[in-house]
Symmetry: D3
Subunit: 288 residues, 6 copies
């Protein structure tokens, strides 16, 4: 469930951006009293996400516009499927069309790309997770789309989990001191993850007591060895999980899943997923 | 040149989104007095866009951070090329990294995709233009990236040009009345464009005196006939330009350009271009 | 039709400015349960504009306030005419009074001033247009008031039309190069206007292919010659329109219209039109 | 001294409104490296106000722009007087011109109109004060302009003084109960003013112990009698001041001042003062 | 009555702060269709304040949530008292709980602390007033809570009353010149107060014609003498009131009241009052 | 390290709240050219927090104001200690005083209260942590103050950790299902905490695999038994930590620490800590 107050802010900004000082085409050609009914149709195959945003776009523009969802976020759609019906005054309906579709297409594109990867590794005890490589300003929405597609969320920002990278390690004086510092200062509610590039660093991270270890661009054989060592550690002490990261695509995700890692993070889901195509078809009427 | 006030707002929002209540990793592992120098490196081939945004991300986070551009927006980059150097306090440098790269990667991705299409039709008297299918909140930046890649901008919103579509035509009672209404009510500074699906509608639009006519999903042969008629009209009266639209990709853009249309609009540039990869490599020091 | 999201922002700002930490008079003297009915009356003759804003002022302050318009924007009003009725809780009704009237008086003042000039040149094939000399923050509303008074809008900002002035010409190396540069770089959807001070510059602008030419402070005889040359050009090639600008007032607008120019721009409409007087008369009741 | 944080907000909004997605004329015709020097010149006679706003408009748009004031707010200016010099990058200088002038012209217009009235009653022990009939969003600036012109400020909003009008009196059950309620509930730091229409009401207000009494649209003879009674009261007890209000103009202000009232409030100063004309003249250069 | 537009802003900010990218506990454990009913219970003895804010917290989060107040602001409450009932969708009800209670607890804490002092001096002709030592961003609400507890408000900011302190006196050249300058330049609607530390300064302030004199940290005997002199002045000329300030607590407030001062200002009310405890008890259901 | 962008927003809001339309006392009594130097002095014993905010208050109000810290956040201060020196233009220095002190006093009050509790349990392997019972809008700052006082942070909002309470348990059908649902749906980077009221619920939470268990208002004997069971579990499997919660004060914190729980959460730190007193003493000069 998205935070309504945040959504209002995003929707208002998008409407101001697109409509600005007014829709000069609609004002010139559509009478003030005209009404309309329309449907949003899928024009491609995928997973829909963003219907609540679509509803807000229209209702914020005009309280008289009604939106009835015909699909739920997370449902599969095919070309021609009706996603939602909108009815009410024709002018705001036309004015909100592009903004509504822009949100819907981007979010559904992310949900669809996520769903494809999730399906490929169905049956493996693994989670497909996102990254912070999101569109500036839209992170909460894009991470919602990842969840809608069956994926899971990695941290939302620099504030809600510790991820120790090479630069932090270098300054802190090694993985051990870095993990110790984080354990001492970060909130006890967050996990501490360390990014490692080889098995030596993996050992250091295991010894330091990391909760999560990110395997950065490792080959499957090395990952398998990492999994073996991590499981040994989990059985004999503090549990640890492994996350594969770097260059994950449909072509190699099954091979990665087979190594036994717990998580696969995929930046592609939010920075490069193509949008999913939808259109808005209208019946225009006129008030008596 | 981007509007600095708008950029500040976008950059502030992005930094608040990513950093939130604080970077718990950096605070735990990097001393307050540490300094750093870093470089942004290209990791793929393309066209760079967004360096002014990168500069603002760091300078807004800390006035002590200095950014020196090594490339200009619009320049070609190859893997390993240094794009910019950043130096100053280590903590804010690390905190701004992801936001800076997220902007840079998206904008450079758009510039790169645009540049590829523009190169394909180099030599034809045609412009590659964008659409309103942009990321909500980022339209001005994304349209800047299109220009940076050698493309041109279509209208920025519903407010700065008239585009009469089927719904407007239906309510207004035909292309003629719709164009007349727009000519009477819209500011005299904007052009009036009509979307047509066949040659009959084209004739109506020519008769109505449209400034621009969008050929929606026409095949090349029909487009060529449309071009012939439009040129005839331009020679004998009010000039008119034609815009090809719908499903344009690298595979078919040359065939479209050969028809003689004046403009080709491509939604893909902003709604589905993959991001261009960059990384930030740091040298970390410590103040004496 | 105004953009509701923009209106909300303006109305909220105005209410915060006037009410601040609270209406100490109303809180002390009006019981929480009191209700009231009131009417907005015209106290001068003119054209009303801004009723939608009036409605929002009251409904945003309290959802229980109802506003019924008795006039439409653009209608003529005389002293004593009832413009709107408002009813509901007495406290917010009193608190919103001044803000509602401040918007209404300013916008109606602009509509009235515009209407007077438009009436003077009725019968001439000419448009009275506004400028960018508007109140900071209220441009969209003020340009709406110009339309409501029968005028037309010039560009809304620096972003939606090209207007090449002497400074641009000087740096670009002449009118020809400036127009060429604008034609190459500005969106194809906007018109290109050049400001000229004499007939030599006019010739340059015609040769350069400007869409619009602004005649800056020319006398009627020179304007007539400019019209003659522009019509010749329109008949034999690219159409061009002329805009008279500078010092236009009721006293000289007919003389300008008689020259045959297409547009007359008047900064006075938005920077110096006096406000139109309205008052709010109340019947106060008390809830049982 | 204006509140810098409020000014920043106003200036940012005005710049976003005018520049929007970018200045397409300047970007096309002025090279990025060009520099310029310019002067703001008075084109009419009056009192200048708003130089601090002018400075912020340019410095917020580009930190490299320098503004040197040649006049102080409150000084008299004549056509041709140089008000300020601006130098730096040519593009932002051109982009900020209109916004800077729009602020300056409006504020100087108010200061000039105020100054004229203040001069007319110089020598009388009276203050010319403003009202809440200001432009929505610009009240603090407009009231600053009134002070700059030699006037004084009445209350800034509903929050900083009590003004009991007919509606409050009607519901509270008379002037006495209304003043008593206000005295009990409003902050002790604010004055309590009552609006009266005749001498009976004046007596009630005097008896109730009002600090200020507004004489609404009274003729001079009645005002003189009101002054006589108020002075009697002040000599024998709680001091009280009288404010003349309603239809004050240059034509009748001296007659009002002669009645001996303490204050004259003039809505015209902020709702209908014409703007004062200024222009920006540039010398454009180009960086080596 | 609070300004609804200001309240909306505060409530939105608080909800964004607490909910951020989403309530991960509620989303995981509470089905989307579940409904709930709950009551807010007092868990301590005091005075309630903030019910309108509580209502807005829930209604802004979800229009389907209904809040019914069982107490009015200003009423006494005891442990176990039901303050309000809330019903509707379970998810937003749970999400808004903490924000609603945080506002209610703080405001009721202030009202309770105020009420205690007000009760102690009941019967004395004195007002307990607040200061500007409030929580940044919450001043209007906190001063409302003081009124709700039976106290009165001192000035709301630097803008709505003059308070001349030692620094102003030093630069202005004495109390006399400072008061004269303020009388000449500040709005006539505000009172002029001077802070004095001894009887010599008191005399200067009386001579200068201050409306209010703040007795800074004086002992009761000195205050009594100050009262004697002030009353003498009030009887023979311009009335003046005295305000005791500095270190006021329950232990010494009666002794101060007995000196006869008119006002006692207490910073403690807003900067150090402990919060009053409330809880939200829920019955959770599930939609059929 | 605080997020500078967030700080700017808080500081701007606070300055707008206090200064509003202008500081009428300072404007009347302090010449525009006057300069000043001042020191912030401690007037009580405690721990200082908020110096970065103090710096921003003055520098945002006027770029010419310089702030030099004499203490670091987290240092102990005694009455008379100089905390910081400020110098520059006198007007903005006086205008920023109250806002700067309001931030400093509140944050230092929290740091001081935290430090007292932390000192009491020094030597025990336990962390004193805060809650979400913070001032609306100031959470990040208040939690920073807790860290500055030697405490640690619990979750920052509903978004960055799971905390399953009785209502969630009731709807989810027990502790086991609730933890399982959270484990499946919440980000893998956050810990899952369960609130329990007795040892039966503790057993359920241990069986369900909670990462943290909050012991709600338990007596020390029961807590000790809970600790015994939790340690047993940690030794034989997934580690678990215990948090004591409810009514923690200086009087009972040592008894709680002795039970061996890992964390003690204290709402009092942020909802009821009294502010720490500071003052600003000025030397005022005047520019030559």
């Amino acid at each position: 469930m998205l935070n309504r107050i945040e959504l209002l802010d995003l929707v208002h900004r998008a409407l101001r951006e697109d409509i600005g000082t007014g829709d000069i085409t609609t004002e010139a050609t559509i009478p003030a009293g005209a009404t309309a009914r329309g449907v949003i149709l899928a024009r491609a195959t995928g997973v829909v996400a963003g219907l609540e945003v679509v509803r807000l776009v229209f209702s914020e523009l005009d309280r008289g516009l009604t939106v009835i969802s015909k699909k739920q976020d997370g449902e599969a759609v095919s070309p021609g499927d009706i996603i939602a019906e909108i009815s009410g005054p024709a002018r705001p309906l036309l004015m909100g069309e592009r903004v509504a579709l822009n949100f819907l297409q981007r979010l559904s594109g992310i949900a669809t790309a996520t769903h494809k990867l999730v399906e490929l590794v169905r049956g493996y005890p693994i989670k497909v997770v996102d990254t912070r490589k999101t569109t500036p300003g839209l992170r909460a929405l894009e991470k919602y789309a990842v969840r809608t597609g069956g994926g899971h969320n990695h941290r939302f920002g620099l504030y809600d989990a510790v991820l120790i990278k090479d630069n932090h390690i270098a300054v802190a004086g090694g993985i051990g001191p870095a993990v110790t510092a984080a354990r001492r200062r970060a909130p006890h509610t967050v996990t501490i993850e360390v990014e490692v590039e080889n098995l030596e660093q993996l050992e250091e991270a295991l010894t330091a007591g990391a909760d999560l270890i990110m395997l950065d661009n490792m080959d499957p054989a090395t990952m398998r060895e990492a999994v073996r060592r991590a499981r040994l550690r989990t059985m004999t002490g503090r549990p640890v999980r492994l996350e594969a990261s770097g260059g994950v695509r449909a072509e190699n995700i099954v091979a990665i899943a087979e190594t036994g890692v717990d998580l696969i993070s995929v930046g592609y889901l939010t920075h490069s997923a193509p949008s999913l195509d939808f259109s808005l078809e209208l019946d225009l009427g006129r008030n008596k």
